[in-house]
Amino acid sequence: METPGSAREALLLGAFVRMADTLVDDYDVVEMLHELVGYCVSLLDSAAAGLVLSDQRGGLQVLASSTDETRLLELFQVQIREGPCLDCIGAGEPVRVPDLAAERARWPRFVPQAVSRGFAAVHAIPMRLRQNTIGALNLFDHGVGAMAEQDLLVARALADIATIGILHERAIRRGEVLTEQLQTALNNRITIEQAKGVLAHAGRLDMHQAFQALRAYGRSRNALVSEVAHQVVTGVITPAAVLTLSAPPGRGST
């Protein structure tokens, strides 16, 4: 009989194998980061997870989040100015906030917004390779309390793999590759937003459903999400083709 522990172990293993795949195979940064935040929610029991990358202009951009729920996205948006995420990227070290309510003075903007959305604790894990901190993984919890040490290790390991995946081996030495990769990822994210808009309007979906449709189509064709997005936006693929293929039986589920 399988214990919950060993079931989790199997999931964990699957996640690492999947993330490691991105290092050797053709992969899409945006898709990989979405898988990463998905694992954080399913494996680490986080209520919500999000990932921000440095835009190299002194700001941060939300690249992936476990939900497209507007209120959550707004919370990430707030973090661009103030909060554990920004501190984490500044220091290149994890920032653990087991009790958000106790930190109002530290982050007067961020804490009330996070609390009002039902979050009680947050952990920020840097995406760092040597001296380069390119972003942070953000894990939100509904209950007060520090993340288990073991879970934190898992989150750091996943973040590390994702970081190496983004920077790739050449980037470790060459600053220009880092810039090329990051700027491409940021622009791909914009193309995906445009494609979400196309699918949302054509298929009467919300933005989250539109994104799921895009990913499902990409997976079925073994194509990169950002490439599919570009083809949708430029009319190479019709919205109908994507929507038909990804339509779940019944209506409106994701």
Partner: protein, 247 residues
């Protein structure tokens, strides 16, 4: 630092940031005062040379393989770099435009454009940095920087460069008029809703992303609102795409 929250002061700020911001404000101010877009792009290029350790800058617009034009170059060498690229069909500006990613060559000796490198060899060009002017699937051109000696830009310099590239992108996309003030993170390019709204208009009218953006901008202009606001209304379905008429 975060005191000016409502006006969106960046928590992390460096000297170059202020200068890049000043350039943007000046450019936006000029456009509002009836200045031409060409003048605005010239100011951005001049600012690149002034604020960065580069010797020349240029902006070119491209539409696919055929339509390409250098709109401004700060000096003869920068103009020559563009001319050589256009005649050969290769180089940093082409690559940046084609791949929608920066094409950065801190040492021209190591680059992947052998014909271009040979042709430009007679000119004093050591490093070339090509930045695409893009917004998702919308690709309009490139901004090229050159320096006489090989060498990479520091992280702080790169930051200034990317901010100036953003200004050029905003000017060419016609989004520069939206806000006289506001922090970098508030630029329309940063707002997911703007891009989602462009997508909705593509689906409604079956037009190109460039055309969809033009409609969005046109609607904002004629109704006296910000592109952000119109986009918000579209995405939250308070406004139907069919009601966003021709530009």
């Amino acid at each position: 630092m975060s005191r000016a929250w409502s006006t969106g002061a960046l928590v992390v700020a460096e000297a170059g940031d202020d200068e890049a911001d000043r350039v943007r404000h000046r450019v936006v101010g000029d456009l509002r005062g009836g200045g031409s877009e060409l003048d605005a792009l010239a100011k951005v290029c001049d600012a690149c040379v002034e604020l960065l350790p580069v010797d020349g800058a240029s902006v070119s617009v491209m539409t696919g393989d055929l339509g390409r034009e250098c709109l401004y170059a700060t000096d003869r060498v920068a103009a020559r770099i563009e001319a050589v690229q256009f005649s050969l069909g290769e180089g940093p500006c082409f690559q940046a435009f084609d791949t929608k990613r920066p094409a950065l060559a801190p040492n021209l000796r190591d680059v992947a454009w052998p014909v271009f490198a040979a042709e430009i060899g007679a000119e004093p060009v050591g490093a070339l940095f090509g930045f695409p002017l893009v917004a998702g699937a919308i690709s309009i051109g490139a901004l090229d920087l050159y320096r006489r000696t090989p060498g990479w830009l520091s992280a702080a310099q790169l930051r200034v460069a990317l901010r100036l590239v953003d200004v050029a992108t905003l000017v060419l996309l016609g989004l520069g008029l939206d806000r006289a003030a506001g922090a970098w993170t508030d630029l329309p390019l940063r707002r997911a809703q703007v891009h989602q709204a462009v997508g909705m208009l593509i689906a409604e009218f079956g037009v190109s992303p460039e055309h969809a953006l033009a409609r969005l901008r046109g609607h904002a202009f004629t109704t006296g609102r910000l592109v952000d606001e119109v986009a918000d209304d579209l995405v939250s379905r308070r406004l139907h795409p069919a009601d966003v008429g021709g530009a």
